[in-house]
Each structure stands twice: as structure tokens, then as C-alpha cells.
């Protein structure tokens, strides 16, 4: 059964003093969905969220909520609540009163307020924190109060603006799981803004990738990762080698001077394309058995795997492998047909997906002695 659209954005444009922030955004969000707006800073994701929340009005286009146009409805009349970046908890109120704020404004009866605040604080694992001042809480705890403050009002839609950005890595992972669980338990539609692709992949039902004020791709996490629409998406989500190629005919793509079998079709004969090969999908084989061969230029230990940069005809590939290859050695590469993804050319073609700057970056970023020890470890 088709779930109903809770929020529908139609042709939204927004610019600030001549800078176009949103360029004709069309997006709908279904009931009970966990949608993530993902993109680099300045891509328009937060502005989109603020338009849904009512803090910005679009220059052009319409915002619909449950089928009703809400362009001119102020935030306090929308059935939407927001978890703000850096929380914006009221410093003059304690935890209980912060969470109770919305209910008090709505003139809910006092015993009902006490009950609902208690329940919600339990839901976010903050039982017993009622009387604490918000200034004494840790970042993670403040985050939970901010979530409770929004959730207690039973909004139809919860907006989250980079809620985990200020937390450290470990806590961020825990909160990701908690947020996902909260979403499942409450059945509230979540619209989540982040620039962290891993966060987006692990939490969302649907990811909306944005860049330059436009939506680049909408899809499930697996779609976005496996079938990126253009070079920007392929590069932003995960690591990718993006090569200039030609689609000779259906199921046959030519790149890096070699014709590969692939699973893609529907292109014109000899159409120029972008080809994506994920670093984990490349197999390392002896030189004589490889489809491509190249020289290893650098090796980095990443814990789970080695990340090696291979120079093939002056294009630097990134390959993730569990087999160690010494820098300077010649290796062969083998690529399965299902590891190849072909994309149409786009405005982003040629901007991403080459790791030739990678080793230089590494040189300048790490101190010399650190690099030496890295090589020593690599040598063992």
C-alpha cells in the first residue's frame, strides 16, 4: 500500500542576496519514513529543513503538509518539531521544564504534563534527570533533552538538524542506534540533516543527496551506494574510483584502455560515460592474470584493511585489500562485471574520483616520523 505523503515540496527556490541556495527542489516525504538530507555544507540541506519548519519562506514554490499548503503558516502552528543543531535548550529552565515547555504552551493539564514528560525522559534514557540544570549535562545528555523536548509534543514530523555533529565518535554511533530505535518505536516521520555519509547510510530509509542547491539523487541507502547517479554522488558516498569511459555497446564498457564486461545497458553506442569502481570491489591478482596492471605508490594501514594507491597509466586508483602489497611492487587488477557501475556524464564529470592528490595530501598531513613508523609496521 502506498503510504501518504506528509510533506510535499514543489519547485522550491530560495536565494540570499543573489546567492541561489535552493534551485527548484521537488521532494516529498512519506508518513513514518526516516529521510536523510545529505550533502556538503552549503548544499541547501539545512535551508530545506528550515523551510519545512517554517523558519524560512521559499522565494518560489509551495510547501504542503498533509495536502494543505503551509507556506504562510508560522512555525508555532505547524505540527512539526525541531531538534536544533547545538540543541538550543533554555538555560533558565531545568530538564523537566525544558521538556515540558511545549506542553505548558499548549496548556496541557499539569498531571498529564508530569506523566508525559516522565515517559519521554524514560524513552531517551534520562530517568531521574528531571531536576538537573541543563548547564550541568554532558553533550550527549543535552542532545537527549533536546530530542525529548521535541518528541513530547507528539509531532507528526520531527526535524533533526545535524543533531550529532557536536558529539564524539563513540557517542555518535550510540546515538545513531538510539535515534533509529526511537524512530521505530514512535512511528514519527524523521527528517534528518547531516553531512556524514556513514550516518545517512546506517540510519535512513531514504537518502536525499544534495549539492549546489539541487537534489542529485533520492533513493534507499543501497541504491545510493550501488547505483550512484553521477560522479558527485559516487564520490560523496563512500570511496570511489571514477574513470572516464566509453560504452561500446550494452554490457561492454571501455575504460583504462581495456574493454570490460559489465551489467549496464541502455546507453547509446560509443556514448562517453563515467565509470565507478568501488575500492573494495577490486581484486588483486598476479601481474600476468590481471586485466589492468600498475605500480603500488602508497600503502596505508586502516585497521580492517590496507588502503593502497595504484598508478595505472597515470590514473591513481584506490584499492582496499586485506593482502599487503609493498610500495613499488607491480600488481594486476581483476574487476568482476558486477563491480562496475556506469553513469551518464554530468556537470560533475572529471571533478572527482581520482586519487592522484591522495599521496601528496598524506605527506603534508602527517609528520615525517609518523610516516616512518607506519612503514615499519607495514614492513613486518
Amino acid at each position: 500500500m502506498e503510504k501518504t505523503k506528509v510533506i510535499d515540496l514543489k519547485g522550491i527556490c530560495k536565494s540570499y542576496g543573489g546567492d541561489v541556495v535552493l534551485d527548484n527542489i521537488d521532494l516529498y516525504i512519506r508518513d513514518k519514513e526516516f529521510v536523510t538530507l545529505l550533502g556538503p555544507s552549503g548544499c541547501g540541506k539545512t535551508t530545506t529543513l528550515r523551510i519545512i519548519g517554517g523558519f524560512e519562506t521559499p522565494d518560489k514554490g509551495d510547501v504542503f503538509f498533509d495536502g494543505v499548503r503551509i507556506n504562510d503558516v508560522p512555525p508555532y502552528k505547524r505540527h512539526v518539531n525541531t531538534v536544533f543543531q547545538r540543541y538550543a535548550l533554555f538555560p533558565h529552565l531545568n530538564v523537566f521544564e525544558n521538556v515540558a515547555f511545549g506542553l505548558r504552551v499548549a496548556k496541557v493539564k499539569n498531571n498529564e504534563i508530569v506523566k508525559r514528560v516522565k515517559e519521554t525522559l524514560e524513552l531517551v534514557n534520562l530517568k531521574g534527570f528531571e531536576r538537573r540544570s541543563v548547564a550541568t549535562l554532558s553533550g550527549g545528555q543535552q542532545q537527549r533533552v533536546a530530542i525529548a523536548r521535541a518528541l513530547v509534543n507528539n509531532p507528526k514530523v520531527l526535524l533533526l538538524d545535524e543533531p550529532l555533529a557536536a558529539l564524539d565518535l563513540k557517542l555518535r554511533k550510540d546515538m545513531q542506534n538510539e535515534l533509529k530505535a526511537l524512530h521505530d518505536r514512535t512511528g514519527i516521520t524523521f527528517i534528518y540533516v547531516t553531512h556524514d555519509q556513514e550516518e545517512a547510510l546506517s540510519m535512513s530509509d531514504t537518502i536525499v543527496v544534495m549539492a549546489n542547491g539541487k537534489i542529485q539523487q533520492i533513493g534507499t541507502p543501497t541504491d545510493i551506494y550501488n547505483e550512484p547517479k553521477n560522479a558527485f554522488v559516487a564520490d560523496f558516498i563512500g570511496e570511489s574510483n571514477i574513470l572516464d569511459g566509453v560504452m561500446i555497446e550494452d554490457y561492454r564498457a571501455k575504460f583504462a584502455g581495456f574493454v570490460f564486461k559489465c551489467l549496464d545497458s541502455g546507453f547509446e553506442k560509443n556514448e562517453p560515460v563515467d565509470v565507478v569502481v568501488r575500492p573494495e570491489d577490486v581484486d588483486i591478482v598476479p601481474v600476468d592474470k590481471g586485466m589492468l596492471k600498475g605500480t603500488v605508490t602508497s600503502v596505508t594501514f586502516k585497521g580492517v584493511h590496507w588502503e593502497i594507491i595504484v598508478d595505472i597509466q597515470n590514473f591513481k586508483w584506490m584499492i582496499q585489500t586485506t593482502d599487503y602489497c609493498a610500495p613499488g611492487s607491480e600488481i594486476g587488477l581483476y574487476i568482476e562485471p558486477d563491480a562496475i557501475h556506469v553513469m551518464k556524464k554530468s556537470e560533475f564529470s572529471g571533478m572527482f574520483g581520482d586519487y592522484s592528490s591522495y599521496s601528496e595530501e598524506f605527506d603534508t598531513l602527517s609528520a615525517p616520523e609518523e610516516q616512518e613508523t607506519a612503514h615499519e609496521v607495514a614492513g613486518e
Binding site: P75, V80, R86, A88, F90, V105
Partner: protein
């Protein structure tokens, strides 16, 4: 703690000399005169006779309270609106507000007198339109008006400072949680600018209770306030002992009121800017 070098100690000397000469010494003189008679013998009579001035004390406190309340009621909305303007406009408005503070209080009071007096600008304008003249100078209202006019910036500026430092996110959060614009002012802006309100109240109340000129001019000499009485004791009656006693009591009154205000604003008290 590190020991201070000779130079650092020397740098404090002018300041200490200043404090001793112009703050501590006058204070000691006031205390000395308050507890002596004209011949310099120790006495409590100055203090004990102060009950004669009870009415004046009461009136001064009352006038100062009313002026402070009016300043708060006028000043808070003004400060709030200022804090929501565009940053460039804010600067211009602050400048406009500070401009009168660069002019002597006496001159400002005189110009108010020139505007409101029986033959003043207002009444001659009314006369032109054949309207009956209004008598403002010489009423309680005129004294309050003078105080409000002179001290309003001292209320607006500290409140404006604390409001303009507030993160806009607090207002957005309140709106997000169902507060209308007006409700946001009462539920968020007001409690979060408490520090500014308290310094504003202090900064208006203290000069209002001790002023010695506004009432003389605008009140037409009908409403004696503490400040006027002290001035008269020193300059006209040449009775510095009674004058000192009144000053001492007033200082204590002010200290108490400041202490009370500070208790309210313990979390982030001083927002005083001048």
C-alpha cells in the same frame, strides 16, 4: 601566585591615590560630619533628628520607584525591538539613544523646562491653535517625566545588551514548540534578559533617588526630594552636619537596594555598560 614586580605595584599607585583622595576621604568626612555638631563634638542628634525628614525620604523613594517602573515599561519593549533590527540599524539606534547622554543632565533638564513651561514651546503651540494651555511644570507628573527622560537610556542599554547577546535559536526553539511571537517574549526573552533588567533597574533607581535638580526645576520647588534637601543643607543652611547625616542614610538606602537587586540577579548580574 606570582609575586608582583615593582613596576606592577607602581602602576597601581595613581589609582590608589585617586581612590583615597576622592572616594575614601570624602566618605570619611561624611561620616565624621554626620556624627558631630557644629563645634566638632561627637553627637547622635543629627541622625536622631532625621525623622523630621521622613516625608521627604518617603517621597523620594516613591518617585524613584515610579520613575523606574515607567522606564522599565517603556524601555523593555524598545530594547526588545532594537535587538530584533538589522545589525546596521541597531548601531544607528544605539547611537541615537546614547546621544543625549553626552549632554549635561542640567542642560537636558533645562531644555525640558523650556519645552513644557507655561510660556514654553508646547503651550505656545497650543495657544496658536486656540487650545487651552496645559500646566505640566510643577506637578508630580513633571518630576517623574524628567526622571524618565533623563534616565531612560540607562534602562534600555543594559537590557538591549543582554537581549542582543541571546542566541536567535532560543527564539526559534520557542516558536517551534508552539509559542506565538508575544508568548516568546514572555517565556524566553524576559527570563533570559533578567540580568539586563536588574542592572537597568539599579541604574535608573539609584540616580532617581538621589537626583537634586530635576524636582527643583520641573516640580516648581513643590516636591522636596532627598537630593534637594542635602544640597540645601550644605549650600544654603550651611549645616553640613545634618546634610552629611542625610547623605549617610541615603547611601545606606542605596546600598541596601543594590544588594537586594543583586540577590535577584545572582546568576549573571552585571551587564552594566556606560
Amino acid at each position: 601566585m606570582r609575586k608582583k614586580t615593582f613596576l606592577e605595584k607602581a602602576a597601581a599607585v595613581p589609582h590608589i591615590v585617586w581612590i583615597v583622595m576622592f572616594i575614601a576621604a570624602p566618605l570619611l568626612f561624611v561620616i565624621y560630619f554626620a556624627f558631630t555638631d557644629a563645634n566638632g563634638t561627637f553627637t547622635f542628634s543629627n541622625i536622631l533628628n532625621l525623622s523630621n525628614y521622613g516625608e521627604i525620604f518617603l517621597r523620594s523613594v516613591l518617585f524613584a520607584l515610579v520613575a523606574t517602573a515607567v522606564c522599565l515599561l517603556l524601555g523593555y519593549p524598545l530594547a526588545y525591538c532594537m535587538s530584533r533590527l538589522k545589525p546596521s540599524t541597531q548601531k544607528a539606534v544605539v547611537l541615537l539613544l546614547m546621544l543625549p547622554m553626552w549632554i549635561s543632565l542640567l542642560i537636558r533638564t533645562y531644555s525640558l523646562l523650556a519645552l513644557l513651561d507655561n510660556g514654553g514651546l508646547l503651550n505656545s503651540l497650543l495657544d496658536k491653535f486656540n487650545l487651552p494651555a496645559v500646566k505640566i511644570v510643577g506637578t508630580r507628573g513633571a518630576v517623574i517625566l524628567g526622571m524618565v527622560y533623563d534616565f531612560l537610556p540607562y534602562m534600555v542599554l543594559p537590557i538591549y545588551t543582554s537581549l542582543s547577546k541571546l542566541d536567535i535559536k532560543y527564539f526559534e526553539a520557542a516558536e517551534d514548540l508552539g509559542c506565538s511571537r508575544i508568548a516568546t517574549v514572555f517565556k524566553v526573552a524576559l527570563p533570559l534578559s533578567k540580568g539586563g533588567i536588574i542592572s537597568g533597574i539599579t541604574m535608573v533607581f539609584v540616580p532617581s533617588i538621589s537626583t537634586f535638580y530635576i524636582s527643583q526645576k520641573l516640580g516648581g520647588g513643590r516636591f522636596d526630594l532627598i537630593g534637594d534637601t542635602i544640597e540645601r543643607q550644605f549650600l544654603m543652611n550651611n549645616n553640613k552636619n545634618v546634610g552629611a547625616a542625610i547623605s549617610l542614610v541615603m547611601m545606606i538606602l542605596i546600598l541596601i537596594s543594590v544588594a537586594v537587586m543583586n540577590r535577584f540577579g545572582d546568576d549573571d548580574g552585571g551587564e552594566i555598560i556606560v
